[in-house]
């Protein structure tokens, strides 16, 4: 058996980079940290490529079943004999796939940032955080038990917080980072409680035990129920809430658009390719259990579907290109969630699972690419806003081409990567539930529309008079673009059904043209509409917006979800819970304590009359005291 224990270094290298750059980064020139960081990450990228090769094509498959291999495991903290947190590396198809995704995109982001952030204050800080994030994300994907996953889950959360707040002097950035952290934190609470419930009934954290068909969760599921649903259902729903928080599913999505305040490479890495799909990964990881609790799976499917539609609609109305991409990310993740929701277990039943993972993989490429392009564009025109751009294809040829590829990919135009994965998702949905299928189908069209709205808006349209002519980004930025573009173009040809499947057994995939053709058609329709509306500056968009203005404004204001949250946090929690508590503490609790002393003093003031200084009164008290005592005790004792 091949020894995978070296895989721990895939995590540890970024960790040590974090320590190294974090502590001593500011001792050298900024560039040093960049180079060191990228070099370090390159090694762990190589390692993961090697691992993938070894696993998929050499040792991973034993009689047509991909093994789940514990590459490395060590006891980290012990709660009880059965409940203990281990730190380890679990090697199986999805984790290896994620290793590739994370290291690749992260490496691209590293290289890209060396020029993108050149001269920024806190360059080395950025790299240390980036390494921290990479470490956390890798730890998350290779987690051997749910608690290890939770640990790194929190870590990615915080590194995302730190990176969003990278421009900490910008109030919007600070607010965004805070929002991101708190919203995900709130979701994580659900995750935590889910873990507690699950572990209480199954007495284990270990993924392999949990997901084994004979394990305590699947083999002998707990009988207990809570308001109609089995505790297992509750646990899985709660865990999904955690995932939904990270993956910006409705209604926990509000942090994602604001998170675009962070530097663009961060958006590409964290908020497009890797961290936001952690929720999908989590559900996939627990999939064997989800399959046993259909209700939870239904929740996953519908939340995913709704989010994808919801986000797609909003995306059509936004002008900040990064926000558009953010909403499209949300929508695509909705796709993946939905795919998992409609999936079954095993063989062709598990198509949705495979498709979801597939889409995750391809999406990582074209979405990261889109963001990096956006970065290049912003780098060139120093503006995030669509109406500040136009006709850039002359100035930014490479960016233009790569952006176009990415758009085609995401719109699902063959032969680009998006087509294959999205198609499988639609097939799975079609076979499972028509309603979901229709939603996703519409979303496919809308996606194509808003993506090409961007494309035309940026690269065509009327030429703006830029105060200094935009210029193509340097190689360190364009190379990643090209690399990712290749991925976005050809990743679709990877035979995923032979690699990543729900029961880790390969099955044959046959394209169902009955689904594929219409999906291509609607994509093209979407593109066509965008072409009509945005290729040349016309007033069609305004008229369209005006014709359905109520809906439009609502969508433009993201359906006022933020306002709702603001109301809850500011009004309810702040003014109607915390403030009263503070008051109560000061006046009631504290007041009662002070009251005691006040009463005592009062008492001592009241009885001062006894000490009147009058000798005869003293004598009177004396005598009466004697008499009273005498009477009382004679009465008592006889």
């Amino acid at each position: 058996m091949f020894d995978f224990s070296y895989t721990i270094w895939i995590l540890l290298i970024p960790f040590f980079l974090f320590i190294l750059i974090g502590f001593w980064g500011n001792k050298f020139k900024p560039a040093v940290s960049g180079i060191v960081g990228s070099a370090g990450l390159f090694t762990s990228w190589i390692l993961s490529i090697f691992t993938a090769y070894k696993y998929f094509f050499d040792v991973g498959r034993v009689d047509d079943v991909y093994q789940q291999i514990i590459g490395y495991n060590t006891l980290w903290l012990r709660f009880t004999d059965t409940l203990h947190i281990d730190m380890g590396v679990l090697i199986d198809p999805i984790s290896v796939m994620m290793l590739i995704v994370v290291t690749t995109v992260s490496l691209m982001a590293h290289i890209y940032s060396t020029d993108y952030l050149k001269g920024e204050k806190g360059f080395e800080r950025f790299y240390s955080f980036l390494s921290l994030f990479t470490f956390a994300m890798l730890g998350l994907v290779v987690a051997t038990n749910i608690f290890q996953m939770y640990i790194f889950w929190e870590l990615v959360g915080v590194s995302s917080y730190l990176l969003i707040g990278f421009y900490y002097t910008r109030d919007t950035a600070v607010a965004a980072s805070k929002k991101a952290f708190i919203v995900t934190r709130f979701a994580d609470l659900g995750f935590l409680i889910g873990i507690l419930l699950l572990s209480y009934y199954t007495k284990t954290f270990d993924f392999l035990t949990l997901t084994s068909p004979t394990g305590p969760a699947i083999g002998t599921p707990p009988a207990a129920t809570f308001i109609g649903l089995s505790v297992l259902t509750w646990a899985m729903i709660l865990i999904f809430i955690g995932g939904a928080g990270k993956s910006a599913m409705f209604p926990l999505h509000i942090w994602l658009p604001d998170a675009m305040e962070g530097p663009t490479p961060v958006s590409a890495l964290i908020h497009a390719a890797t961290m936001v799909v952690a929720g999908v990964y989590l559900v996939a990881r627990m999939f064997p259990i989800y399959i046993t609790v259909p209700i939870a799976l239904q929740v996953v499917a519908w939340v995913g579907a709704f989010s994808s539609l919801f986000a797609a609609i909003i995306a059509c109305t936004q002008y900040d290109i990064k926000r558009v991409l953010a909403y499209s990310t949300m929508s695509q993740i909705g796709y993946m969630m939905c795919a998992l929701g409609v999936s079954g277990m095993g063989g062709h039943e598990g198509l949705g699972y495979m498709a979801s993972m597939f889409h995750l993989f391809t999406h990582a490429f074209f979405k990261a690419l889109l963001f990096l392009c956006a970065g290049a564009i912003i780098h060139a025109v120093h503006s995030n806003y669509l109406y500040g751009m136009g006709g850039l294809r002359k100035y930014l040829p490479i960016t233009h081409i790569t952006f176009l590829i990415a758009c085609l990919a995401i719109s699902g135009i063959p032969p680009f990567a998006g087509f294959f994965s999205k198609d499988e998702i639609l097939v799975a949905a079609y076979h499972h539930d028509t309603a979901l299928f229709i939603i996703e189908y519409i979303v496919a069209g809308v996606t194509a529309f808003y993506m090409f709205r961007l494309y035309f808006g940026i690269f065509w349209g009327k030429k703006q008079d830029y105060h200094h002519t935009p210029h193509e980004a340097p190689y360190s930025m364009t190379i990643p673009l090209i690399f990712l573009a290749l991925g976005a173009a050809f990743a679709g040809f990877i035979p995923f059904s032979h690699l990543v499947t729900s029961d880790r057994q390969l099955f044959e995939l046959h394209t169902e043209w009955i689904i594929a053709i219409p999906s291509i058609v609607i994509a093209i329709i979407g593109i066509g509409v965008a072409y009509v509306m945005y290729l040349k500056p016309t007033d069609i968009p305004r008229r369209v917006a005006h014709s359905l203005h109520g809906f439009y404004t609502a969508a433009y204001h993201k359906f006022y979800i933020d306002e709702v949250y603001l109301f809850i946090t500011q009004k309810i929690i702040f003014n109607h819970i915390s403030k009263p508590i503070a008051w109560f503490d000061r006046h009631i609790v504290d007041g009662s304590m002070n009251g005691i002393s006040y009463v005592t003093n009062q008492a001592s003031d009241r009885i001062r009359g006894f000490q009147s200084g009058q000798l005869q009164q003293y004598a009177l008290v004396f005598v009466s005291g004697t008499v009273i005592l005498a009477l009382v005790f004679i009465y008592l004792w006889t």
């Binding site: 000490q611 200084g613 009058q614 000798l615 005869q616 005598v623």
Partner: protein
């Protein structure tokens, strides 16, 4: 000459004297008078002792001795008291007990 007088008479007398004394101590404002009331109290005690000794326990003379000592001590007490009263009189030309409340509360 006291033959046949029952104990209770003495006790009643002494009790009356005692409470008269206490009463005087409590109401008379003149220090000297208060001193006299004290003497009343002490004398009531003396009567007690003598009566008990004579009628109940004639074999020992304890009561008698005690009485004598009480008288002596009372004298000493009175002398010191009067000395202090004189001193007070020197300070505030007055021996009204109610005037002596410079220290209170």
């Amino acid at each position: 000459m006291f033959e046949g007088v029952p104990l209770s008479w003495f006790l009643i007398l002494s009790t009356v004297m005692f409470f008269v004394g206490v009463y005087g101590f409590l109401v008379r404002k003149n220090l000297i008078t208060m001193l006299m009331s004290i003497e009343l109290i002490l004398n009531s005690v003396c009567i007690n002792f003598v009566a008990f000794n004579k009628i109940l326990y004639p074999e020992h003379m304890e009561g008698m001795f005690f009485t004598i000592f009480i008288i002596a001590v009372a004298a000493a007490e009175a002398s010191v008291a009067i000395a202090i009263i004189i001193n007070i009189y020197r300070r505030i030309v007055n021996i009204d007990v109610e005037k002596m409340d410079e220290m209170k509360y």
